[in-house]
């Protein structure tokens, strides 16, 4: 999923400083799974923002809403009935959702309440880790299912580097050396001889380096 973490409250309060009536919109998908911007988090943030205002002797009117997701215009459209009562929207969705809301409601300021982090998976309850960089040309078939682009700190395609130590990356004992993981997986799969095949220089055009990307499905596009 796309993971995110709530921004510091101070920052969010600064965004909504001039406003007394806001629409606080959560998202029921990725940010719900990583407990950053779902229904629950909307309730918590709403209470926190209101109390912060009340402490100053001011009020804040918060209309709480959680959409199925914010990255599809059909769902964003549901905000139409509430948008006029709001002076601003604070979205707890990932950057994709925030942009879609801002695009639909051009004359209402829209602010992000979370910092979108990475595409990842749950390691265990409450812990999410980066897994995919969206490079556009998946090499997982060559590396036993472990991504060197996302999980090697230096995104080496022919790793490991000389800093790998006890299965950990040189930058931190909390970060696994992706190439140790890949090598272990290759052994488990019996494909160790693959290790010496040189992976040629990557064509980064399929990645964000080639410019903002788009997928068009002719069979589906109207």
């Amino acid at each position: 999923m796309i993971t995110a973490e709530r921004k510091p409250l101070e920052e969010i309060l600064a965004y909504i400083e001039p406003y007394d009536r806001i629409l606080l919109v959560g998202c029921n998908e990725c940010v719900t799974v990583c407990a950053a911007g779902g229904r629950k988090e909307v309730a918590i943030l709403s209470s926190a923002l209101q109390m912060a205002r009340m402490k100053e002797g001011r009020t804040l009117d918060v209309r709480e809403l959680t959409l199925e997701r914010q990255c599809d215009p059909e769902y964003v459209e549901e905000l139409v009935k509430d948008i006029d009562q709001a002076e601003a929207v604070v979205s707890m969705a990932c950057g994709c959702g925030v942009q879609e809301v801002a695009k639909r409601f051009k004359s209402t300021p829209v602010f992000p309440a979370v910092n979108t982090k990475f595409m990842g998976a749950s390691e265990r309850q409450g812990v999410w880790a980066e897994r995919c960089q969206g490079c556009g040309e998946c090499v997982l078939g060559l590396t036993g299912g472990i991504c060197p682009v996302a999980r090697c700190s230096k995104r080496l395609l022919n790793g490991p580097c000389g800093g790998s130590s006890n299965g950990k990356c040189e930058i931190s004992p909390d970060v696994d050396c992706a190439w140790q993981l890949i090598w272990d997986r290759m052994k488990a799969l019996g494909i160790e001889d693959r290790y010496e095949e040189i992976v040629a220089a990557k064509d980064w055009r399929t990645s964000r380096d080639g410019g903002p990307r788009r997928i068009i499905r002719e069979d589906l596009a109207s």
Binding site: K154, P160, G162, E170
Partner: protein
């Protein structure tokens, strides 16, 4: 010979080669480079210039190499893939060649996490092995990585690093094999304190005949103090400093430790000379360059062959 590199010349003649290292200054102080390089004149066949080592900004390796070349000495251009994309790297390689620089080392580079700009964007467009392939393609095919022809292509003697002490150990020979297949001509190893482990690695290297395909220069860094030995042992990733070495350094009074460190370095060189497949030595005396001449002399590596 593939190039006019002085280092290649010494190695192909069957002599043991000696290289050393210069760390450029953290500012526009060319005299610092000249000072350090001058100390090595007559004692080495090539002088590595590090490239923003430990991800700390220093004068560029290329600029410092040019200064050294202008002194009539032989620089070895170190290039990390951390800071430059393939355009910039190929551009610098042509530039280096235009300044009569013929030897380079291809590295990935320490992660910015360690340096003075941890907030920088990492490049890592290529890794060290892909860079080796690129430099070889420039030299042997006269083409850029992207495929276009190069006008007067650079003919570089291509080096890389090897670390027999990093994990996983079982991969370290295979890693060398990969670099050899990519086209590397010579290797400089990480500094060696655990000679047994190094010899184990070398025997794996020989089993695969790699020592016939690439020149291996054993890395030597003299210890200045017991404190340095401990630091290297505990705080530097990919470094193997056996307890006996630390003990030996600590067993000597502080004023005598530097001398003990030099003694160890010289002894290690003498032992490594006997290891089949070792073609020379890469002496890295960081901020202690003045000791290199003494080490080279005491290890019986003088005079350096004329090229």
């Amino acid at each position: 010979m593939k190039t006019v590199s002085a280092l290649e010349s010494v190695l192909t003649s069957g002599n043991l080669a000696v290289t050393s290292e210069c760390g450029p200054p953290r500012g526009a102080v060319p005299e610092k480079i000249r000072e350090k390089a001058e100390m090595l004149r007559g004692y080495v066949d090539g002088i590595n210039v590090t490239d923003n080592q430990t991800a700390v900004v220093r004068m560029s390796s290329l600029a410092a190499c040019i200064i050294i070349r202008q002194m009539g000495l032989q620089p070895i251009l170190q290039m990390v893939t951390r800071d430059r994309n393939r355009l910039a790297m190929q551009s610098d390689i042509i530039g280096a060649y235009a300044h009569d620089i013929h030897t380079m080392l291809c590295l990935s580079g320490d992660h910015p996490h360690f340096g003075d700009h941890p907030m920088a964007a990492n490049v890592y467009d290529l890794d060290s092995i892909q860079l080796i392939q690129t430099v070889r393609k420039m030299r042997d095919e006269g083409k850029f990585q992207g495929g276009d022809d190069i006008v007067n292509p650079p003919k570089m003697f291509i080096g890389a690093a090897a670390n027999p002490f990093a994990d996983p150990f079982e991969l370290r020979v295979a890693r060398l094999a990969k670099k050899v297949n990519a086209g590397v001509d010579f290797i400089q190893t990480q500094c060696i304190y655990n000679l047994d482990k190094f010899e184990t690695w070398m025997s794996g290297v020989r089993d695969r005949g790699l020592h016939d395909k690439v020149y291996i220069l054993a890395g030597i860094t003299p210890l200045k103090s017991a404190g340095m030995a401990k630091y290297m042992k505990n705080r530097v990733p990919g470094m193997d400093v056996p307890d006996e070495v630390v003990k030996r350094m600590a067993g000597v009074p502080k004023e005598k430790q530097a001398e003990e460190g030099i003694k160890i370095a010289v002894e290690d060189i003498q032992r490594l000379k006997e290891v089949e497949g070792v073609s020379g030595f890469h002496i890295m005396a960081i901020e202690w360059e003045q000791k290199v001449p003494e080490i080279v002399e005491r290890a019986g590596l003088l005079p350096r062959p004329e090229v």
